[in-house]
Symmetry: C2
């Protein structure tokens, strides 16, 4: 039995500040070892480490929370907690890598209200030869993402778990890393097409978010605690629909979210032309006038606030917003039904996963 006083999270607060802090501490300790390992290369690498630290700051550590509760759901407990936190932090390293590269793909200047990695790097060479600061920023951010990805692996392998245990977790960890790339690829491919069907949009959601954010982190944690196939399958039946609902909520926030809370400029997803289910549904249901608005404004880089408002109206008036809200509710119900049929060890992990379902689908940031 776990020593409850040492548990970093509870059923009532499953992604607690304490768990978040434990992950941050784990990441910091790892970064310190890496800085030592590369110290011989000299102070020119200092900026690389500083931007790495920033890329790893903050965030809700949701993926780590799912790793943790997957582990608890399989009976993980006690003295293995430190090892488990290392593996959970490894997933956050993967995530930081994905975000840094995502900002490159989207050309985003900000992330969580701060400069994105490429902007940050570009600002660190004030005396750069003319015309080299921006390309440097892009190149450095690309390399930082690679480093974070290589590091994720190193942290996983040096987590402290025995090789036999690590081998059990490998399939989920490997899948997580390849599926997020596949999902992102399908996403950028969709943006080259004039229209995307709802089915295309949901396929992106499945790989880019559902598997990557929820299903695989849960299965990774559970595998590290020797979960059997019944539990792993059950966690899929909960994790996949929940992850889909999570992304659909994210898509809604990308269009309607308060930029002060989300840390991203309002309407950015509309400027980027993100092919979400919300947008696919709006195209499906638009009348002629609404269709004209969508065709002329959606995906335009230079949208004014008034244009964003017009697109928002179309998304609402076509019923696309209501339709997606219905899908989110249905998927959340499906996740909870899946959870009920899953052989979770103990009542606290079950209650925590119930709380998490509400947390990730009903949020403002």
């Amino acid at each position: 039995m776990p020593d409850s006083s040492a548990d970093p999270a509870s059923a009532a607060d499953p992604a607690s500040p304490r768990l978040q802090a434990a992950i941050s501490d784990t990441v910091s300790a790892f970064l310190a070892t890496q800085q030592g390992a590369l110290a011989a290369a000299g102070p020119d690498l200092d900026d690389l480490f500083e931007v790495a630290e920033r890329a790893l700051e903050g965030g809700k550590r949701l993926r780590a929370a799912f790793v943790y509760w997957g582990w608890r759901a399989a009976g993980g407990a006690g003295s293995d907690l430190t090892c488990l936190l290392n593996c959970a932090a490894a997933v956050e390293l993967v995530h930081a890598s994905a975000l840094v590269h995502d900002d490159l793909i989207d050309g985003s200047d900000t992330r969580r209200g701060h400069p994105s990695a490429q902007r940050d790097f570009a600002g660190r060479v004030p005396d750069a030869v003319e015309g080299t600061a921006e390309p440097f920023g892009v190149a450095a951010a690309l390399l930082l993402g690679d480093l974070l990805l290589a590091w994720s692996d190193e942290l996983y392998n040096t987590s402290g778990f025995r090789p036999k245990v690590l081998r059990r977790g490998r399939p989920a960890f490997d899948r997580l890393r390849r599926e997020v790339v596949a999902g992102q690829y399908l996403d950028v491919l969709a943006q080259t097409r004039r229209r995307s069907s709802a089915a295309d949009a949901m396929r992106v959601v499945l790989y880019k978010s559902a598997k990557y954010t929820v299903e695989r982190p849960l299965q990774l944690g559970a595998s590290l605690a020797q979960a059997d196939t019944a539990l792993l399958g059950g966690l899929s039946s909960y994790g996949v629909p929940l992850g889909q609902a999570f992304q659909l909520r994210d898509d809604m926030l990308g269009v309607f979210g308060d930029s002060a809370v989300t840390g991203k400029p309002a309407g950015d997803d509309l400027r980027e032309g993100k092919r979400t289910l919300l947008v696919a549904r709006a195209f499906d249901r638009a009348d002629r006038a609404q269709r004209t608005t969508l065709d002329s404004l959606f995906g335009r880089q230079n949208l004014e606030q008034a244009d964003v408002a017009r697109l928002q109206d179309v998304l609402r008036d076509t019923g696309a917003v209501a339709a997606v809200e219905t899908v989110i509710a249905e998927l959340t119900d499906a996740a909870l039904a899946g959870l009920r049929g899953t052989p979770i060890q103990g009542s606290e992990p079950r209650a925590a996963l119930e709380t998490l379902a509400a947390l990730v689908t009903d949020r403002t940031a």
Copy 2:
């Protein structure tokens, strides 16, 4: 003792076509398992796999050869060969990832005479919405590099070696992946500065090439065959200077190489403004007129063939070329001296490493 008839390479031909083919076959078999694993995502991923295949085609498989001979140098033999080839192929996956991302950083349209990954991807969406094909190409290449890096790890872990053996190889594999990023970062940082010293240039060479291309692959192979610290240290004393000499030869080919042989447009490194030792030495030794030529032409994107020729003349006339040739010869001698002091198991691996030293420092492509 190894069954010599099964050895994929020999002292006379240490990076033999047979070894290259064995690596290619290993990579192909791995790609097939990956394609199966992601088949559920549908045919939209086909292009991703095709470009991955191309990114992994060809090349001299030098890093794999160093893994192989490191392993042989430590007495590796026989039935473990298949596992070893998997680990060597994993290093080639890392390398393919680095090249794909390097072409993004450099904005290169070609690689080995074929379209670079970003150009290849951009050409695969002929019906793309206007203005989306190029950004798609860049995004897809970025994601491909990530995928190759994640795969490298998966191939290493599923190589067939026991977890205990894999754990021995881990430090070298981890270092290889982080040091190449550090080296690349130092390289792009140097390009924001008006001048780079010879010491700066050699530091980039150390991380980006010497450790990554020669030292760590050798140590990885040796570790997988239970090398002791004397052997690992000896392989460094051979590998580091040899890797430096390798890169200096590469820098010379980047300026003077025959584009028909190198597969890269002549003078590309001069257009990019690569801060090599060759260039640092030319700046050091230039008289006023030569300095004016360097200042006005070096690093200019739109160099004509006549400009390239003028810069080549300055590099020769300042004595920079001769100086670098001397350094290459000295480093190669140092590597061979290091090799003599290294407790290599058996005469064939020793002879092979001698041949490799000549091969990588005296080449035309």
